[in-house]
């Protein structure tokens, strides 16, 4: 098998790069950590990679809203090479701040939707929240989520601006019907609108989106914080033998792109 080269993007305030690098290594990919300044100086470096990951954090302090400054930077310097990467069959994974960046760049939900149709904004509670959530996988076209026996996954969220908002109800139903909603928050009864199962008040319980190809995927919860079974808050109360849900997402990608 050839190696799967993954670029993990770094910028001022990105702070989950270390665990994302480790997840890719555990999953069997070959990740490279690179500062956005370095990449912007020579965008053709992207040609060497199949997947780009934008990890979580507070890029540039999120001082103008979550992900806004990094999104502007990427649109200005790297919009075309990123588009090319997706067009040649590559993938983009945005986690937490990375997801916010992809939405604010317009890469999610994608060009079928205008830049002013979907956004990620302040939680209903108006404050930062950390808790574990249950997610239902709602799409079958996203390679990061392609594993047959895993229709519910558990991951932590830790954010202040994670509520996905659409410009109208029509936009929300279009997202659903066109298969852009990748993962939704659900409670034990399967409802998507109860707090704290839906921790931020996200429309339709949207926790993550993918584009029309399924290969651009972003989510607020952190798969990079569930790569070991001792990460789960109840690991001391239960027997676990399966792969941790977070690691599964990285492994799915490796399986898909390495074949």
């Amino acid at each position: 098998m050839s190696e799967l080269r993954v670029l993990v993007l770094r910028a001022a305030g990105i702070n989950c790069d270390e665990e994302v690098m480790h997840c890719w290594q555990l999953a069997g990919a070959s990740p490279t950590l690179m500062h956005v300044n370095t990449l912007a100086d020579n965008p053709s470096r992207l040609d060497d990679f199949t997947i780009v990951t934008i990890p979580g954090g507070f890029s540039y302090g999120d001082d103008l809203g979550a992900g806004v400054i990094l999104a502007r930077r990427l649109m200005q310097d790297l919009a075309h090479p990123l588009r090319t990467l997706v067009d040649r069959g590559g993938g983009i994974l945005g986690i937490c701040n990375g997801f916010q960046v992809l939405v604010k760049m317009g890469l999610l939900p994608g060009s079928d939707f205008g830049h002013d149709q979907v956004t990620v904004t302040y939680n209903n509670s108006a404050k930062f929240e950390a808790r574990w959530v249950k997610l239902r996988v709602c799409t079958d076209r996203c390679p990061f989520l392609k594993s047959t026996d895993n229709k519910h996954i558990e991951l932590p969220i830790e954010h202040a601006e994670g509520k996905v908002v659409t410009a109208s109800d029509t936009v929300a139903s279009n997202l659903a019907s066109a298969g852009h909603i990748a993962v939704r928050y659900v409670d034990d009864e399967g409802r998507t609108d109860t707090y704290p199962a839906n921790p931020n008040g996200s429309t339709a319980g949207i926790a993550g989106l993918c584009d029309a190809t399924g290969r651009v995927f972003g989510l607020m919860p952190h798969p990079d914080r569930h790569f070991d079974h001792t990460h789960h808050p109840l690991w001391t109360t239960r027997e676990t033998s399966t792969t941790p849900d977070g690691l599964t997402i990285f492994q799915n990608a490796v399986r898909f792109w390495k074949k």
């Binding site: 300044n37 001082d63 930077r73 930062f128």
Partner: protein, 980 residues
């Protein structure tokens, strides 16, 4: 399309613009709703709504089209927000009542800095136009609906929306029309002239006056020592030399009280009788002596660096440091706690050649959130506001840095009303070959990170003083505002320079904290000498005087000693990370501290006088039991002991809703405690989020070995600080043992927060705590590796205020000793949590009363429990502390949703159910394992969610888990702002 309410267009070259961003609908204004709830608490229940917006004030050669592009692409979210653009800096409001809050000139405004950079980047590609010169300020605007008077608006502004020591507010609308500034006002510019302080001729009174008025806070004896030094030199000191001495000799920097010689004559320690002991150096002969006597080879760096370091494995060490930031947090809780967190993180970054921070801790001591607002002394912030502020500060700094806040505690007592305590801890991972550092003569002195401004002048000396009701005005300049992203960039750059392929690019590093460059350069150059060119220090704005540059405590700066042959690479690494790094001088070998400002020498001091010239004093200390209390503790005195079921049920419910015991989930969930992916045991345990005893993280992803982090704090026992220290150490150790730490690989930190130490009796309290710390550390085998103290935590108000508030004229905190524990967990697979696991199990107890036995018996109990946990024989472990046995049993039920049926008899536990015994563990085990371990069985886990406790077969508690859970969760469920 985002909505455009109004655009007034006229094109000129340089203009001022105001862009206001507001939520598209009131329903989207979550912040407004939160603020409304706070306003209703004031109480101003008739306020109908709060609508928030943020404002960007711009100055530069921007056209209306430019500004609209900025509003659309940078400022306003296209879906959830709308914008309004106005030319000029004020958007007038005539109909609605509006409060606009702006930072005072010179106050750090991180968002404005980011905005300036983003605008430059966005507009740099504009066709055939020069890059615009842009200056940005930010402001916040609040529309208040339903206010009756401008007094009410002022009250809302001053109590909730703004802090007058760093912000100004303007009220507009039907009630009043404050004039908003027409232009950006700059901080004052001070021109250069070298100033000398004529100290040689002053008499004692004049020396005292100079010390207080100049904010030097030195004693007369110290002032006289300085006077003699300059008399011998035949010259007067420059103001900067005097400042440098005051910073270096401050209590904050040199801990002169704890290190002084002490003559103690008073009650013996732990045994009846009186003793007379002379200490040459109190700290060295107690706390430090325990470490020396224990002589553990896994202690790699103790008491010499910015943090202590223990061995993790052959390759790695773990650095640990805890700091306080009390005085700044009293005046500006958010900024004080944020920069406290940031400062402690920099201590860890400045340990050795730099550790990578992997976890933070926070402990607060505050007055109860339901304190009567009408009794609040002038210039004292309400404890509810302090709580929200300090939690917000720790949250925003830690979360943004990407450092998980994993452990903490909050203790409530009215005596912390005017002196809230904010302890911040940080744990770092450091390669063992990076622990040693030494600047070399010829090394360049480099300052890197944030720029230097007027923020934080006199922090070190201020923190060494007693607070009064004029301090908020007098010391507003000591308040610092943090910018976590600046520090994160600095950390990224430093780690790249440390781990550079050509080897570490610097020979030493230290943080620029209290005392600013004065302390950082002065300490680094202590053994060799340093030459500094102050005009090279990058400034936030022009006009700082040389002495301000030298002592400013502007945040997010580190100082490096860089060998000349590595300086080019060093600067390149920092530049690539967008971090400013500047050479400001060189280390020398003449053992002098020489500072110049544009060719004028403004300081030339012998390093030996600076660091060894402080006069040593002998302090007398005494102690007899039961010192008078100044203010009754907020903790309710135990009710009359009763074994009647309803009385015990009520006692348990009220013990669970005691502010200090109640759930801290509201706080914990605001902290990112999982970033970096190292989390093993989190601050909340079990399906129902019970209170974990301590945190466990795995520093190295590929290793199963972990570290446990916990704390102990017992100010309720401060009547005798000897026992308080022992109990705090015992509690810290119990907490980390409960999650699986190895007590034989555990180190501890001490943080003393004391009232004034100016009498023999108060000095005696310090001696007793130090001696208790020594005795427990020796008995338990726990070396101290680092420590810090903060004295003079007292508040004095005028007689009139004391009469009005019915409070004592002077409010002193109880002597408070925080013990932080760091223990190695040999195998994280054997960690346990405190939630009940299975109805097949029993609850066993291990308890040793340290007042009845010697400490060795307690040590054996600790080691026995640790061994049982390591062997996998324990399913859940919980420490018995605040609220006693009854509360500990209840918490285990609350965490899991399972019940316990317990029967307590003198055979297994002789204390009252609500007493706080020492060295007591509750353990969920199989009956067989409990029996073979020889542990008394207290009760059984049951499926039925009920807690029943019988005393000698007589049922005294019978409550549903739902009921006890409700009592425990409600008090702090909204930051203490809603009555339960």
């Amino acid at each position: 399309m985002p909505g455009v309410d109004s655009i007034q267009m006229t094109d000129r070259v340089s203009k001022r613009w105001s862009v206001r961003i507001h939520p598209r609908t009131p329903a989207m204004d979550g912040l407004g709703q939160t603020l409304l709830a706070d306003i209703h608490q004031l109480p101003l229940a008739h306020i109908e709504a709060v609508r928030t917006s943020r404002i960007y004030l711009l100055r530069g050669n921007l056209t209306a089209l430019d500004v609209e592009q900025l509003a659309k692409q940078l400022f306003a979210d296209p879906v959830s927000e709308r914008y309004t653009i106005t030319e000029g800096l004020s958007q007038r409001s005539d109909r609605q009542d509006v409060i606009e809050v702006q930072p005072l000139p010179g106050v750090m405004d991180p968002v404005a800095l980011s905005t300036e950079q983003a605008i430059r980047r966005l507009l740099e590609h504009r066709d055939d136009k020069p890059a615009p010169v842009i200056e940005v300020r930010t402001a916040r605007r609040y529309e208040i609906l339903g206010a009756h008077s401008s007094d009410e608006l002022d009250r809302i502004a001053s109590r909730i929306l703004a802090n007058s020591c760093m912000e100004a507010w303007y009220i507009q609308g039907s009630q009043r029309h404050d004039v908003l500034p027409e232009d950006f006002s700059a901080p004052p510019t001070l021109s250069f002239s070298l100033r000398h302080v004529l100290i040689r001729e002053l008499d004692d009174n004049q020396l005292k006056h100079l010390s207080r008025q100049g904010h030097l806070f030195l004693s007369l004896e110290e002032m006289k020592t300085i006077q003699r030094f300059y008399q011998d030199l035949n010259r007067d000191p420059t103001d900067l030399e005097l400042e440098t001495l005051a910073q270096t000799w401050s209590e904050h920097c040199v801990h002169k009280t704890l290190k002084s010689a002490v003559d103690y004559e008073g009650e013996d320690f732990g045994i009846p009788g009186r003793v007379h002991i002379q200490f040459d150096n109190l700290l060295k002969e107690t706390i430090v002596k325990a470490t020396t006597d224990l002589d553990r080879d896994w202690c790699l760096s103790v008491f010499v660096d910015n943090a202590g370091v223990i061995a993790f494995d052959d390759q790695w060490g773990i650095a640990f440091k805890a700091e306080t930031h009390n005085h700044p947090s009293a005046i500006e809780p958010y900024g004080g706690a944020a920069t406290g967190t940031g400062g402690c993180i920099r201590d860890v970054m400045g340990c050795g050649l730099g550790a990578k921070p992997i976890a933070s801790t926070d402990v607060f001591c505050l007055a109860p959130p339901d304190f009567d607002a009408n009794k609040l002394p002038k210039d004292v912030l309400h404890p509810r506001r302090v709580l929200k502020g300090v939690v917000g500060g720790v949250r925003d700094y830690g979360n943004r840095m990407g450092i998980p806040t994993v452990n903490g505690a909050i203790y409530f007592d009215e005596r912390y009303l005017a002196n809230p305590l904010v302890f911040c801890g940080c744990v770092g991972l450091i390669p063992r070959h990076c622990i040693d550092k030494a600047p070399q003569p010829g090394d360049k002195i480099v300052v890197a990170g944030g720029r230097t401004g007027r923020d934080g002048i006199h922090g070190a000396t201020f923190s060494s003083a007693e607070l009064t009701d004029t301090h908020a005005d007098e010391f507003s300049h000591a308040v610092q505002i943090g910018n976590a992203i600046e520090e994160k960039k600095l950390l990224d750059a430093q780690l790249l320079a440390r781990d550079h392929q050509d080897g570490c690019l610097y020979s030493a590093v230290t943080d620029c904290g209290a005392g600013g460059l004065s302390s950082a350069v002065g300490e680094m150059g202590e053994q060799i000498g340093a030459d500094v060119e102050l005009q090279n220090v990058p400034l936030k704005y022009p006009g700082l005087r040389y002495d301000e540059i030298w002592i400013s405590e502007a945040q997010e700066r580190m100082v490096y000693a860089v060998p000349p042959d590595k300086i080019e690479k060093f600067l390149a690494v920092f530049a690539a990370e967008d971090v400013e790094a500047t050479v400001i001088g060189s280390f020398t070998n003449d053992k002098k501290l020489r500072v110049r400002y544009n060719d004028t020498t403004v300081c030339e001091l012998d390093m030996s006088f600076l660091h060894d010239g402080l006069p040593r004093t002998i302090r007398k200390a005494t102690w007899t039991a039961n010192p008078p209390e100044l203010l009754v503790s907020a903790r309710a005195a135990p009710n009359t002991l009763s074994n009647e079921p309803t009385a015990c049920n009520d006692r348990l419910l009220s013990a669970l809703s005691d502010w200090s015991t109640a759930s801290k989930e509201w706080v914990i969930r605001q902290y990112d405690h999982e970033v970096q992916g190292r989390s093993v045991i989190k601050p909340l345990a079990g399906l129902q989020s019970g209170p974990s005893d301590a945190a466990v993280i795995r520093p190295i992803y590929t290793s199963k070995q972990g570290i446990a982090i916990g704390c102990g704090l017992c100010p309720q026992l401060s009547d005798d600080p000897y026992w308080m220290a022992i109990y705090a150490i015992d509690e810290a150790l119990r907490n980390i043992i409960c999650v699986g730490a190895n007590p034989q690989r555990t180190a501890i930190l001490d943080n003393f927060c004391w009232p004034k130490v100016d009498t023999e009796q108060s000095m005696g309290t310090l001696v007793r705590a130090c001696r208790g710390a020594y005795d427990a550390a020796m008995a338990y085998g726990l070396p101290f590796i680092s420590g810090k103290d903060s004295l003079n935590n007292e508040f004095t108000m005028s007689d009139a205020e004391a009469a009005r508030t019915e409070l004592p004229k002077c409010i002193a905190i109880p002597p408070t000793l925080l013990i932080s524990a760091l223990g190695i967990v040999d195998d994280t697979a054997h960690c346990v949590t405190m939630d009940l696991k299975s109805a097949d199990n029993v609850i066993a107890i291990a308890s040793t009363d340290i007042r009845q036995n010697d400490l060795t018996a307690a040590m054996q109990t600790h080691h026995k429990i640790a061994a049982l946990i390591a062997e996998g024989k324990v399913q859940a472990a919980h420490d018995v502390s605040d609220g006693g046995m009854a509360v500990a049993l209840a918490e285990m039920c609350i965490a899991s949703g399972l019940g316990i049926s317990a029967n307590i008899s003198t055979g297994n536990f002789s204390h009252d159910l609500f007493d706080e015994p020492s060295t007591t563990y509750l353990l969920e085990m199989s009956e067989k394992d409990a029996n073979s371990a020889g542990l008394p069985i207290l009760g059984r886990v049951c499926i039925k969610p009920n807690l029943t406790i019988a005393r000698d077969d007589h049922e005294i508690v019978n409550l549903s888990v739902e009921k006890i859970s409700g009592a425990w969760r409600s008090p702090l469920s909204h930051g203490g702002s809603q009555s339960s």
